[in-house]
């Protein structure tokens, strides 16, 4: 490889990261959350809202919680109600929405029959998800997987129908991946909005209906352009597992999914996010949804050179949590970004070094490279030049998922023409420098190699420290992104609970078995 990293150090980095996450995993395994339970409800095809517009998955889970039954897991209550009332889960939820009864008040039905009901419902989910996954992969094989780096663009009009128009244009211009950015801070909503939406700020609400609309539009385009087109949305947040659930049911290909983003950048309670991300990633692992981790966020506010090792540290932690969810490396879209101040002398050498470090540290992953944003300005021409160098470094260092920079990054969410210019530039640069990476090498112990080693060394130091005190304590102490979050503070803390000994989550259970033959790893 280019950096010739000290392989013992690399091994050490992984070991420590594993130990750091092992403890947290023990903590996770004892707990569930409202969102995890709503995920089960959604998998049991509970959808729609009550008369006040509250989503039925929230309605039924909140009801069971209010009546003190949630520690057993929602699956049992739904199944018991289905048997008792000989209703479908949807009918049960609607009835609860109409305040006709609480599942908890219903008489417990014959154990065997209820258990059978649970299995029946859960097996159906698994079958369904497998079918969706297989259809996607069949389509991918038929149409063919575009060459890497994938050209990844964002649509963010706030209106799903407008998004579709722009997404189609982007695909016909050469986009391989379309991400529909979520409306500002949807991650802070403790429910998933319902139905198609046309009003959002800075983005479009993530709803199952919106997923379906965009997926269909992209499939049409894929047929036209004879190229498989991937669809991306955002999971991290208070509904992390639920978003994964609807994504898996609507055939999405990627999800922004970070084990710590919600905690650090959205002040979501850490217990909540840790527990949620596990189920969320199980679903992604099972449905072969590529996760995109959010390391770019670290260097959006702190210095991209001095703090480069925090990116590496987070990448290693994300990798371990993904492994614990039984995810194969090829679905790990390990994040990093081109955020160095363009006024830094030799900034480009730092970028090359950092980009290669990610690439070589995760040879089997599918790294996601993010464009310059914080140092973009109103000078759209300079911005275009910054993006051109970013594109060059991406092809040169062999990145896999390439989120395009927009020349108007500092101004507004992309105009159609901004996206066109970004796509045509990426195509130009990728093609013009296609084999550059294969033809160059770097001076032994030169600037680029030294910098990469330095970053890795600092990352290991940081990990050692985190291991010392434990990940959660480290977060409380403000180790990451200079942001301190307390154990019991933050949004959604009240949505975490300890599983009762009769707790059962049939979907998670089946996924764990399928992915790793049982929970413990």
């Amino acid at each position: 490889m280019y950096l010739d990293l000290d392989q013992d150090l690399v091994r050490r980095a992984r070991e420590v990261a594993k130990e750091v996450t092992d403890d947290v995993q023990k903590f996770i395994d004892l707990r569930s959350t409202d969102s995890v339970e709503r995920t089960v409800a959604r998998f049991f095809d509970i959808d729609g809202t009550d008369s006040e517009g509250a989503p039925l998955p929230n309605v039924i889970v909140d009801n069971v919680k209010k009546h003190g039954g949630l520690d057993r897991g929602i699956a049992y209550w739904i199944a018991n109600a289905c048997v008792a009332k000989s209703m479908t889960p949807q009918q049960v939820a609607e009835a609860v929405g109409r305040k006709e009864f609480s599942p908890v008040d219903l008489a417990p039905q014959n154990e065997g029959i209820v258990a059978q009901k649970i299995d029946e419902l859960a097996d159906a989910v698994i079958k369904k998800l497998e079918n969706i996954r297989n259809t996607r992969e069949k389509m991918l094989n038929e149409l063919g997987d575009p060459a890497q780096p994938y050209i990844y663009v964002i649509v963010a009009t706030g209106n799903i129908y407008e998004d579709v128009i722009q997404a189609k244009a982007a695909v016909s211009e050469g986009a391989d991946v379309i991400a529909v950015i979520r409306s500002t801070a949807q991650s802070l909503l403790d429910f998933i909005p319902y139905g198609p939406t046309t009003e959002g700020y800075g983005g479009t609400y993530a709803t199952q209906a919106n997923f379906k609309i965009m997926r269909q539009a992209l499939n049409e385009m894929a047929g036209k352009v004879k190229r498989y087109i991937r669809l991306t949305n955002y999971a991290s947040g208070l509904c992390m597992p639920e978003i994964s659930a609807i994504a898996s049911m609507e055939g999405l290909d990627m999800l922004l999914n970070d084990s710590m983003y919600g905690i650090l950048f959205r002040n979501i309670n850490m217990m909540r996010t840790f527990v949620d991300q596990y189920t969320s990633r199980l679903i992604c692992a099972f449905s072969h949804i590529i996760i995109n981790t959010g390391e770019d966020n670290y260097i959006k506010t702190s210095d991209p050179i001095e703090r480069a090792h925090t990116v590496t540290t987070s990448q290693l932690i994300n990798e371990q949590f993904a492994l614990k969810a039984g995810m194969e490396p090829k679905y790990m879209g390990i994040g990093h970004a081109f955020e160095i101040d363009p006024d830094v002398q030799n900034g480009l050498l730092y970028e090359i070094s950092h980009a290669l470090l990610t690439r070589e540290l995760f040879p089997n992953a599918i790294p996601k490279y993010m464009p310059p944003t914080r140092y973009m300005t109103g000078n759209i021409f300079k911005g275009y030049a910054q993006n051109t160098l970013y594109n060059l470094i991406s092809i040169m260092t062999g990145q896999s998922i390439h989120l395009l920079g927009m020349l108007t990054e500092a101004i507004h969410t992309p105009l159609v023409q901004d996206r066109y210019l970004a796509i045509s530039d990426a195509k130009y640069v990728f093609d013009n420098a296609r084999s550059l990476g294969a033809d160059i090498t770097f001076k032994k112990d030169g600037f680029i190699q030294k910098e990469a080693r330095q970053v890795l060394t600092n990352a290991v130091k940081l990990l050692e420290h985190v291991k010392e005190i434990g990940l959660m304590a480290a977060i409380e102490e403000g180790t990451f992104a200079d942001i301190a979050r307390k154990m019991d503070e933050g949004k959604g803390a009240d949505g975490v609970f300890i599983k009762g000994e009769d707790y059962y989550n049939p979907v998670v259970d089946r996924m764990e078995t399928a992915l790793k033959g049982g929970k413990m790893i």
Partner: protein, 249 residues
Amino acid sequence: MIPDVDLSHLKPYGDQMNDGVIQLSFTLPVPGGAKAREAAKNFVSSMGLSEIQIVLSEDIGENFTFFVIYAKTTKDIDYSSIKTLEIESPKMSIDEVNGHVMKYLGRQITIVGATIGSDAHTVGLDSILNMKGYHGDSGLERYRMFKVYNLGSQIPPIDLVRKAREVKADVILVSQIVTQRDIHIKQLTELADILDAEKLRDKILLIVGGPRITHELAIELGYDAGFGAGTMPSEVAAYVATEIIKKKL
């Protein structure tokens, strides 16, 4: 000034004085071709431009056509008579500001800052408030005579006002970064209305900032001042000190 510039009939300068050359780009939601080019041309001449050169007319798919155009303006403007409404505040050092406030006010100025509504951007506000400041220019927390409360981001206007009342704030500093669909207008108006409703408006110096904010816009929205992209904390400090002193005298 350049020797032969005519300030009362100012025009853009392309490669010679008064040639009036400008560059435009835009997208029309129609497929590419002669008709689209004609449409672009009509559109540009409707803006009073002549010698229109369509240098790029690219069908970018799905019935969109992107244009790059150079043209010459027929209009000129009177530069000499332009009056700008600008925030005028003297350049002052930290010590000068502190001394000034001490001398004329005799107490600390209380400042509450927040990014309101759904806006989660803090870097801008922090670079004005935090010790660290912006590009080597220290933030307001570094000023002895300022008492600063930084509430952070995503603060509902109502909470911001509550806090302001609680600490008897002299100044409110609001940051608005996200402007898409004019959400900042909505949120800033909401804040101003609450302050009016609570009869706090005239007791408080109300300031907004953000990359898309102009002083003009701030005035329109009933704010005392607006600070835009690249604002330095010291500018804000000097303005706050002088204004509060004016107010209290």
